[in-house]
Subunit: 478 residues, 2 copies
C-alpha cells in the first residue's frame, strides 16, 4: 500500500474545477471526511473535492479519469461499513456531495419530490411534510445522512416493513457516469416500462458505478392517525408468530414491528437513567400502526392484542395513550442504539434470515457467544417484520480495546457462519463497503461473482469508482 | 432477411437435449408459438423447444450458443408488442417454458411463493389463495400468461396502484444466462442489501439478457373486505383531482382507480348487450378499496364520496351492494377491452404521463384524432392512479383492414409525439418488444442508449438472447 501524491498541475486543475471553496487537500481540513461515524475506520485521500453543481461533479470526474485517480463519492458519511472511506488503495480523492443540497421540486399533486443528492434526509422529510406528504425513509442518522447516499446504499430503517427500502422509494435518478457523462433518469412517471430499468443498477451499488447527483422520490399521504403499543412476550418464537397475525389483523397498515431483547434496556438507560421498561418480559415488541385517513386503528389494535393476550401469546401490553407516551416507547429503541455506541467498540451485525428462522438465528448466536466467548454480552434487536436482526455483542468492560477488536473479528466470523448456514444474509441493510467485501465475495456462487465483475467492468472499465468498496480493490497507478 | 435452416446434426442435437416431446420443427406444430394474441404479428422459428427442466433449458441454450442461433424465450405468448415472436432475424429457435410449470413451494409463514417460470399466473394466484394469501398481480391475460413472462416483461395490470408492478412483487429469480450457466437468485429474504441487485437486470429486460426459469414472489394477506363504487364525473380533470383526495381518504387501501370514457360503454355492450351504465356522465371511475382486516371501508368510502358529491366533483355514484354488483362494474371494464378486440384491428397504446397531465394528454389526443383522422373513434380508459392511459382508436367500420393499418401507424406516431412532448412514456406497462423498438431507441438520450448497449454487450456478447427485441436486431449467421 503506497500513498500517492498529486502533482501541482493536477491539484491546480482540480482546484479550478470546483472553485475557491471547493477543495481541501490538507490533513486538518480533510479529517472530517476521512473518519467514519462509528470511529472504527480512518481513511486517506489525496484531496477532498466539494463540487457545488452537477457540472462541477462532471468536471471533477473527467479530471480524475484522465489522471487515473480513484473517486470516493461521499454523502453524510454515516455509513457503518467504510463505504465512503478509502482504507486500502490510498490513491483516491473524496467527492463530497454536501454542497449540492437543494430541494429541487416538491410536486404534491403527483406525490413526487426531486432533490440534489446532498440533501440531508431530514430536510427531504421536512419538505414533504410541509406539503402534507410523507417521505417514509426513517433511520437513526436521518439528521446527517444524505439522500444520495441513502440511494447509493439502498438504505433501510424502521419503516421498510410498510414502505420498502430506499430502492422502493425512488422513481428516478440523475447520475454522473465514470467518464463524466450525465445520465438523466428523471421522468416523474409512476409507470414507465421501457427497457432496462437503469436506475436499479446504481441504487445499492455503493458508488461503484457512478455518482448519484439527484434523486426523484415517491411521496405518500401523511398519516393522520398513529397507534403505538409496547408488548412483552415470552420468546422470539411468540414474536414471530405475532408478526404474522399482525400483518393480517392490521390490514398491512403496520409501519413498524421492532423486537428488542430485554437485555437491551440497560443500554437505553445509559442514555436516560429514568427509562423504565413498560413491560416485564424476556422479549419486547414495539408495534406501530398508521393511516392517512380516519380509520379506527385503536379498535383494530385493541381487538388484536386482546386475542393475543387471551391466548397467552402476549404476556403484557401497554398502548400509548398520548404522543408523549409513544415517544417514550421509541426512546427505548433509539436509546439502546446510542447506549451501545457509548460503550465504545462492539461487534455490530446486520443479519437477515427468513422471518420464520429468526428464533433459530438468535438461539444459535446466543449459544455460540455463551460457549465460546464468555463475558461478552449479546444484544438482540431489529426489524423483525423484515427478518432483519441486529445481533450485536459488547466486550467485557475490563477488556483492552485492541484485544476486544481481535476477538470481535472472531465473533463476527462465527455469527456470519451461523447466518450463512441458515441461508441468510450478512447485510440486511448496512451494505458491504470495505468491511465485509471479502466475506461477501467468498460467500457468492462463482456465477454471481462473475456477473458482478461483468457489470463493474462494463460500466467502470478503468475501475475508478469507489475502488476497494464492494469488490476487491484494484490499485490504479497514475 | 434470409430464412436459415438447421442442419440435420443440429436438429438431432436439439432433439436430444429436450427429449421426445420437447421439440417441434414443422409448420403446423409451430403455428401456435408463432402468432401473437392480438393476431397482429406472425413470426418464424427454426424449431420450437419445450424443455421440461432447468437442466434442459441450460442444455438447449448451450447448443444455441455453439450453433449461433437466436433464442426467443416464450411464456404464455400473451404480450402485445411481439416480444416473444421473431419477426425480423429469422434465425432463431423459440424456447417455450410451458412444460416448466410447477409451483415449487408456498411458504405462507413468510409470505413467499416459489414457482417455475412456466406457471400460469392464475395458477400462482390460486396457490396463494389456498393458503389464505394474495398474489396481487392481476391482468386480463392471467388465465394464460406465465409468471416468468410477467417477470421478464415487468407486467402491470389493475392492482399496480396498491401493490406495484411485477418488479415490486419479485423477491428472487432463477435465470439461465446466455452461456447456459445458471444464476440462482433465490433467497427467501425480505431484505438483502449485498451488492448489485442482479434480479433487477432481468426483470423487464424482455428476455434479452437471459431466460428466467423460476421466480420467488412476495405474498400478501388476503383481503377480507372489499368495497367497490362506480362514479360519474364531468371531466378527466375532476377524475384526477378525485384520485388525489382518494389516496388520502382511503389510507392508501385503494386497490384500483380506473377511468373509463363513457364512449367505451358501446364496446362493453358488444360483449354483453344487457350491460347498462350505472351512471350517466362523460367520465366514469371504478374505485375499489380492500383490506385484510375488519376495517369499515364502507364508511370510509361513503364519507369520502359524500363530500365529493356535495362539492359537485362527483355527479353520480353507485356503491356495490353485493359481490355480484361489484362484478357487474368490473364487467364493464373487462367487456370494453374484449369488445374492442372484437372490432378487429385498432390502434392500441399504453401511454403514461404524470398523473396531473392526464387531462392534457387526453384532450390533445382527442383533438388530434378529430382534426386529422375523421371517422376514427377514440376510446379512453386506463389505470389513472398510475398515470397510465390506454388511448385506443377504432377505424371506421367500412375501412379496409390494409388501409386501416397504414393509417393506424400514422395515428400511433401522432399519439407518441403528443406523449413525448408531455414528457411521458410510450409504454407504461406493455413493454417495447419488436413493435416499438425504433420509436423507443429514437426517443432516448445518447447516454441512455449507450448504457443499454453496454449492458446488452456485457451480458449477452454473442447477441443471441431475443434478437430484435428491445434493441435493433443484429442478425447472427451460423
Amino acid at each position: 500500500m503506497t500513498m500517492h501524491a498529486l502533482s501541482p498541475d493536477a491539484l491546480g486543475a482540480l482546484q479550478d474545477a470546483v472553485g475557491h471553496n471547493g477543495m481541501t487537500a490538507d490533513a486538518v481540513g480533510m479529517a472530517k471526511y476521512l473518519g467514519d461515524w462509528s470511529g472504527d475506520h480512518h481513511g486517506a485521500a489525496l484531496a477532498v473535492l466539494r463540487p457545488a453543481s452537477v457540472a462541477e461533479v462532471q468536471a471533477v470526474v473527467r479530471l480524475c479519469a484522465s489522471l487515473g485517480l480513484g473517486i470516493i463519492p461521499q454523502g453524510g458519511n454515516t455509513g457503518l461499513v467504510a463505504g465512503a472511506i478509502d482504507i486500502e488503495t490510498q490513491n483516491s480523492v473524496v467527492i463530497s456531495l454536501e454542497r449540492l443540497n437543494a430541494i429541487r421540486r416538491v410536486d404534491a399533486d403527483n406525490f413526487v419530490l426531486q432533490a440534489d443528492a446532498g440533501c440531508i434526509l431530514q430536510t427531504v422529510k421536512d419538505a414533504a411534510d410541509a406539503q402534507d406528504c410523507l417521505f417514509p425513509l426513517a433511520l437513526g442518522a436521518q439528521g446527517s445522512c444524505q439522500i444520495g447516499g441513502n440511494a447509493a446504499s439502498n438504505a433501510g430503517g424502521i419503516n421498510v416493513l410498510r414502505y420498502g427500502m430506499a430502492r422502493d422509494l425512488i422513481l428516478g435518478l440523475e447520475v454522473v457516469l465514470p467518464d463524466g457523462e450525465l445520465w438523466d433518469g428523471f421522468s416523474g412517471l409512476r409507470k414507465n416500462n421501457t427497457g432496462y430499468d437503469l436506475k436499479q443498477l446504481f441504487i445499492g451499488s455503493e458508488g461503484t458505478l457512478g455518482i448519484i447527483t439527484g434523486v426523484e422520490l415517491k411521496l405518500f399521504p401523511k398519516p393522520v392517525r398513529t397507534e403505538t403499543a409496547y408488548l412483552g412476550l415470552a420468546s422470539f418464537e411468540a414474536a414471530v408468530a405475532l408478526f404474522r397475525q399482525a400483518r393480517r389483523a392490521s390490514a398491512d397498515l403496520m409501519s413498524a414491528f421492532e423486537i428488542i431483547g430485554s437485555e437491551c434496556m440497560a443500554l437505553a438507560r445509559l442514555i436516560d437513567a429514568n427509562i423504565v421498561s413498560p413491560v416485564e418480559a424476556p422479549v419486547h415488541v414495539l408495534i406501530e400502526l398508521s393511516a392517512s385517513a380516519a380509520i379506527d386503528l385503536r379498535t383494530l389494535l385493541v381487538d388484536f392484542l386482546g386475542e393475543a393476550m387471551e391466548s397467552g401469546q402476549v404476556i403484557d401490553a401497554v398502548l400509548a395513550e398520548s404522543g408523549a407516551q409513544a415517544k417514550s416507547f421509541w426512546a427505548i429503541r433509539e436509546g439502546l442504539v446510542e447506549g451501545q455506541a457509548k460503550r465504545g467498540y462492539h461487534v455490530r451485525t446486520d443479519l437477515s434470515v427468513r422471518i420464520s428462522d429468526i428464533p433459530a438465528l438468535i438461539d444459535q448466536a446466543r449459544r455460540f457467544v455463551a460457549l465460546e466467548h464468555q463475558g461478552w454480552l449479546p444484544l438482540v434487536y431489529g426489524h423483525a417484520g423484515d427478518g432483519n436482526i441486529h445481533f450485536n455483542v459488547l466486550p467485557p468492560e475490563a477488556l483492552d480495546e485492541r484485544e476486544a477488536r481481535a476477538r470481535g473479528a472472531d465473533i463476527t466470523a462465527g455469527l456470519y457462519r451461523i447466518v450463512h448456514a441458515l441461508g441468510g444474509s450478512i447485510s440486511a441493510e448496512h451494505g458491504i463497503g470495505r468491511t465485509r467485501h471479502r466475506t461477501f465475495m467468498a460467500g457468492l456462487a462463482p456465477v454471481h461473482r462473475r456477473l458482478i465483475g461483468t457489470l463493474k467492468s462494463a460500466l467502470d472499465p478503468q475501475g475508478l469508482m469507489n475502488p476497494g468498496c464492494l469488490l476487491p480493490a484494484t490499485e490504479t497507478v497514475p
